[in-house]
Symmetry: C2
Subunit: 150 residues, 2 copies
């Protein structure tokens, strides 16, 4: 992907991967666009209807996601549509989307409140994601720390 930002902008924190990711997809819409792309949306109109986003904002976000190598834009076979597809980098955001989804399921819904569920081909729910150390043992935030670069 293109590992530079548009002219005039700068990374929030030049060495932190979390900050970079937030710079790229940390706004109200980008991640929801990616979510819908993972769920099969491909055209401008599909995103528009699923998200209820303003047209100009959608135009802007799709352009930036293409620019950052997360989506790929191509002419559709039918000649009058465009097709937006996740690149490899975009598909690789699946893990992050699942992590955010699982947190939401645990903490952002009342116990009796219904929510959509992510399932595999057989309709079975996914396992819960948990960070693991090299030895395979679960690792908490307190048991880890950031090693800054020289």
């Amino acid at each position: 992907m293109d590992v530079t930002l548009a002219a005039g902008s700068a990374w929030t924190d030049p060495t932190c991967p979390v900050a970079r990711t937030v710079d790229l997809i940390g706004d109200r819409w980008s991640l929801l666009i990616i979510r819908d792309a993972m769920d099969g949306a491909t055209t401008f109109t599909e995103f528009l209807q699923r998200l209820g986003i303003a047209r100009n904002i959608l135009t802007d976000r799709l352009r930036k996601l293409v620019e950052h190598g997360i989506l790929d834009k191509s002419a559709a076979a039918d000649g009058r549509r465009h097709t937006y597809r996740l690149t490899e980098a975009g598909q690789d955001l699946f893990t992050a989307v699942v992590a955010l989804r699982q947190w939401g399921e645990r903490h952002a819904f009342a116990p009796d409140e219904p929510h959509s569920v992510l399932v595999d081909d057989q309709g079975r729910e996914l396992r819960e994601l948990h960070p693991l150390g090299q030895d395979g043992a679960p690792l908490s935030a307190e048991a880890s720390h950031v090693r800054r670069t020289a």
Copy 2:
């Protein structure tokens, strides 16, 4: 946690856990505040200095994170500071932060570009997170789909 939004606001998508999570922490700063809290920041001034955020924005974000049950605010022992600590729900965001970090490491840095690294107590890097089905087999975005609620 408080599973309601402030009066006048509404969920982007009432049944999608991804959308709810993005509603709560999907802005430029909230996730970076949480990242720094996981890395040991506890006071207003610490967050201010680490992030380079405007004071009024930090005030607002800390208030919202407390409101949403992600941070807890208390008076520090020294009497003149406040202490912000991650609640259980806040600590549970560790998985999501790690997922975003690992994506950034893979796709938002040039091969030779240095970045900070998350390590355990022995200085060893974490394993890569990957969504797994109930059977323990890796699951891709294409091999899964969203089941909507009735």
